[in-house]
Amino acid sequence: MRHFTEEELIAYQLQESSEGAAIGRHLEDCSECADISESIAETLRVFSADPTPPPDLEINWQRLRGNLSVLTPESRGSWRWAWPAVGLATAALILLTFFGVHAHHGNDPKHNMAVNGHGPITTEPANPAIANHLDAAERLLTEVNNSSGPLDDATREQAHTLLLKNAVYVHDARESGDLASAAVLENFGRVLTTLDNEPPTSHGTWRLRLEMNTSGLLLDIRVLRQNDDLSQGVSQ
């Protein structure tokens, strides 16, 4: 008499077996397999569904609703014809970047990079300490983007310190005419202000991430940092 394996008996108990009828007949005659089969059934009973905490629909809807953009038929259909345009625009951008980089290496020590639609920025390092500030900003935003619960006290303290310093860098950027950098740092300041003033709630960082587009801001900060690194390299 061929005995069935544990795996075959598990499949039988989960009703996933293709030979259910044969196994059923076998279990009537084989006490050894019947014992294992019963042990599997007992395991499934023990690990049956526990109650789960019911979510608050109203609260969840309110949170979700704030993040829903209005969908329109125009926006739905627009991408089909927009792809060739996007392709052309990308090609043009690559060409511009290529020639821009070469022109830059040829004679102009300054270089420009667009930051999320804020236009070209001046990358003269007005203040060498800004590299550290941007570095800290990047680390904090990464932390915000990767956590959903409340931030720990050390991170909130860091946010407070950065907030105080950030105002100085915004001022410096404006003074030097670097409006794009100023805009990015101002956005960062708004995130810091929210972090500094809001009580630590379980969904604080999650909401912050969505409402203040911290992912986009992180990208801006990284571009700023890269620009700063490049300009440091050029000046050395």
Binding site: E6, E7, I10, A11, Q13, L14, E16, D35, I36, E38, S39, I40, E42, T43, L44, V46, F47, S48, A49, D50, P51, T52, P53, P54, P55, L57, N60, W61, R63, L64, R65, N67, L68, S69, V70, L71, T72, P73, S75, R76, N146, S147, S148, G149, D152, S202, H203, W206, L210
Partner: protein
């Protein structure tokens, strides 16, 4: 043909959302959020992460709604999205060892980040028994890999078909089945001290 698969109210709601009425999405949320959050809870093991994953899934579904072809049910689609979202969240949490979200346990404890699910019908005796059983179950489940745990809980506790589990885990149906079988086998062995040895 496609509309036969979808509930009429849901089809109408999707049409309204696509026409610019975002409040119509509430119909879909009212119908499916609890089930979606429950599945997320089975995967993540705690309420905060479950609700975050459920919300993220609904947000993703909303943004992808223009591409939803309605040849499958919205419930199937959103379940697939939430499984992915919840699994990703668990993996992210595993990488971030400093994160401790509240978990469900037999007692609420701030130190252990645990909360207790209210059971209004339980008496003192059953609470004691439940505590032991719950503790044992939790320890056994913790021994499973994320894939085994996900596949097992969805198949056994939520009755999700193997094909859907496989699609969400991005593995073949056979691999998903093997994960469930391995999970049951491990859990059965974990009962050895309780049952007095495997038979």
């Amino acid at each position: 043909m496609s509309n036969r698969r979808m509930d009429k109210a849901e089809t109408e709601a999707i049409r309204a959302v696509l026409a610019g009425d975002r409040d119509a999405y509430r119909v879909l949320m009212d119908r499916h959020f609890c089930a979606v959050a429950r599945v997320a809870f089975r995967i993540t093991g705690n309420q905060d992460d479950a609700e975050e994953a459920a919300q993220e899934a609904f947000l993703r579904a909303y943004n992808k709604l223009p591409n939803f072809r309605q040849d499958s049910k919205f419930s199937t689609w959103i379940m697939r999205i939430v499984m992915n979202t919840a699994i990703n969240l668990v993996e992210r949490r595993n990488r971030d060892l400093s994160y401790h979200a509240p978990r469900v346990a037999e007692e609420t404890s701030a130190a252990d980040h645990t909360v207790r699910v209210a059971d209004r019908q339980a008496g003192p005796e059953s609470i004691l028994l439940n505590r032991e059983a719950s503790s044992m179950r939790r320890a056994a489940m913790a021994e499973l890999t994320p894939m085994e745990r996900t596949a097992f809980t969805l198949r056994h506790m939520e009755d999700v078909p193997m094909t859907e589990i496989a699609a969400a885990l991005n593995v073949t149906t056979n691999s998903a089945k093997q994960a469930v079988f391995r999970a049951v086998s491990k859990l059965r062995r974990s009962l050895t001290p309780v049952a007095g040895g495997l038979r």
